[in-house]
């Protein structure tokens, strides 16, 4: 793809895809974090 060898294609495009999937997984796993909510007053 794009004139690159297969392993270089994996390096260029595979890692970004991995991190996108990681981010989606993180958002899913942390969906209840809003229960942590601390008001600004608490934080100061």
């Amino acid at each position: 793809m794009f004139g690159l060898p297969f392993d270089t294609t994996l390096l260029v495009f595979g890692f970004p895809v991995f991190w996108i999937l990681y981010t989606i997984g993180f958002l899913y796993a942390s969906r209840d974090w809003d229960k942590d909510s601390i008001s600004g007053d608490d934080a100061s």
């Binding site: 794009f2 004139g3 392993d7 890692f15 970004p16 991190w19 990681y22 981010t23 942590d36 934080a43």
Partner: protein, 524 residues
């Protein structure tokens, strides 16, 4: 120097100074928590972008471009890890560190370590090591800024350097962390626009990525390989692992970066900040490496690879755009340099001066001392940067590798491993830093094909585990630390009795979370 370049630079400087003034109006330097952590009021997008722009630095416009120019697509190993560095950091330690630091009343990332691993030795070693390494790193940023500005504008290097340092000092003095965080936010957008503009111009010049890759293949097929020019890194998985680790996992060991977690508005800010970090990184991170690779075709006679991005911008972009790109380059340098200066000054004032020299300093005195130290470090950094400097790329990789090696297990175990104790953390820091420095100084990278980051992190992690387990009986983790760790692991509001400890922001060191908790329990 064209009038357009001057216009963009002046416009850029006016905006960052305006942000500094705005931060001052918002109380960014009213008290110590305001000055050091922006009053813990930084939202998700600003958290993500200050985290990223602080991490990225002038390295991205010098080292990254130079690496792409020298090694071809092999350089993308660094980008492959870097893209996920932000979300990894925020997902692994962001939320828990925010809660723990608040419950323990820690205002700097080094103070946080002492409160989690109670010992003055932890604070002293971590503080001195961090000041030394961040000082190194500041010099690298100043060199990057001075070289870039001098090249594009024609201003003599010492004058260009002085202008950049002066502007940083003014807005940092005015607004402290809040000014740094929001100038970083603005600067990260300028960086993104600037580097994308150069990349698009380079791709247009060469007829697209596929066409450029065919042309590279005709020059030297190994430039397209994942093993570097002439396959120089073939089979060297230890070096590849180092490239992947230094800007991904390594971030979690950088004291000036993990401070961003402590300044978030809320613990759950880490969640949306992770999303913003990934989005920004996907666009920004690979671009400087790719421009460096494309510079092989655009500037075949380039004698200094670190100048690849500057020269491509100079050659391909009209004067009007060069001004914007110049601003982007300065933004990359300044957004890191300001954070480094503020953190170094904060650690020197809070973790060394107040902790060990003058425990009775008032809050006002501390803000003044912190500013004075920021100024002193900037002056020393300026003086060192004027001397014939070594490669910026090497300095950044060295400093960040040692930081990551020393502190990564300490920060990660602080939130995830209840057994992690003081002897384990202290020995882990000493061994991690020592091994990384030794590996670099002794030149073992070439003979062993292992990066200092790899050996450093492995050594510090093993040390943390072994020493912690071996010393459980003689140095157990205090019960109150277990209690705050359990609370940090729980999803929900922090109970008021834990927040009693946050009064520490107005006290001198020594706040005993233990005493605060006992007091809270007694009142129940």
């Amino acid at each position: 120097m064209s009038g357009t370049v001057i216009f963009f630079l002046i416009l850029y400087y006016v905006v960052v100074l305006g942000i500094g003034y705005w931060a001052m109006q918002r109380g960014g330097s009213e008290d110590l928590e305001g000055y050091l952590l922006g009053g813990r009021k930084v939202g998700p997008m600003a958290t993500a972008l200050t985290l990223q722009s602080t991490s990225m630095s002038g390295y991205m416009f010098l080292g990254a471009g130079g690496l792409g120019f020298a090694q071809g697509y092999w350089a993308l190993w660094f980008a492959a890890g870097d893209i996920g560095g932000g979300v990894l950091n925020l997902s692994v330690i962001g939320r828990r560190m925010r809660k723990l630091s608040q419950m323990m009343g820690a205002l700097t990332s080094i103070e946080y370590l002492e409160k989690r691993y109670p010992s003055a030795a932890v604070r002293l070693f971590a503080g001195v090591l961090t000041i030394f390494l961040l000082g190194f790193y500041v010099v690298a940023q100043l060199i990057a800024g001075g070289k870039g500005m001098a090249l594009v504008t024609g201003i003599p290097y010492p004058v260009a350097l002085a202008i950049a340092v002066g502007i940083i000092l003014i807005y940092t003095f005015m607004g402290g962390y809040l000014a740094v965080a929001y100038t970083d936010f603005f600067q990260s957008i300028v960086m993104l626009v600037g580097v994308m503009w150069i990349l698009i111009a380079a791709l247009t010049e060469l007829g697209g990525l596929t066409s450029a890759n065919y042309a590279l293949n005709n020059i030297d097929p190994t430039l397209l390989s994942v093993w570097g020019k002439d396959l120089g890194f073939q089979g060297q998985w230890g070096v590849v692992a180092g490239a992947l680790l230094v800007f991904s996992v390594g971030y979690m060991g950088w004291p000036h970066v993990v401070t961003r977690h402590m300044a978030m508005t809320r613990p759950e800010t880490a969640r949306r900040a992770g999303l913003w970090a990934t989005i920004w990184n996907l666009f920004f991170v690979p671009a400087p490496y790719l421009v460096g690779i494309l510079a092989i075709l655009i500037l075949p006679g380039l004698d200094d690879p670190e100048m690849a991005i500057f020269r491509v911008a100079e050659q391909l972009l009209p004067a009007a755009v060069t001004g914007l790109v110049m601003a982007a380059i300065m933004a990359a340098v300044m957004s890191t340099a300001d954070s480094l200066l503020l953190q170094t000054g904060s650690i020197a004032s809070r973790d060394i001066y107040e902790r060990f020299i003058n425990p009775n300093a008032t809050e006002k005195q501390m803000v003044i001392v912190s500013r004075a130290l920021v100024f002193a470090i900037a002056v020393v950094g300026y003086a060192v940067a004027l001397v014939e400097p070594p490669s910026v790329f090497s300095i950044v990789i060295f400093a960040t590798s040692v930081l990551g090696s020393a502190f990564l297990p300490a920060y990660v175990c602080a939130v995830w491993w209840r057994k992690a104790n003081t002897p384990g953390a202290l020995s882990s820091m000493i061994v991690g830093a020592g091994v990384a420095v030794f590996w670099e100084v002794a030149g073992l990278v070439d003979t062993t094909e292992l990066a200092p980051m790899v050996t450093g992190v492995v050594s510090s992690t093993v040390t943390m585990i072994v020493v912690t387990l071996a010393t459980q009986k003689i140095a157990p983790v205090p019960a109150y630390i277990h209690e705050v760790m359990d609370e940090a692991a729980t999803v929900g509001r922090i109970p008021p009795r834990f927040l009693a400890a946050t009064n520490s922001d107005l006290t001198n060191e020594a706040v005993a979370v233990d005493a605060a908790l006992k007091g809270g329990q007694n009142n129940e």
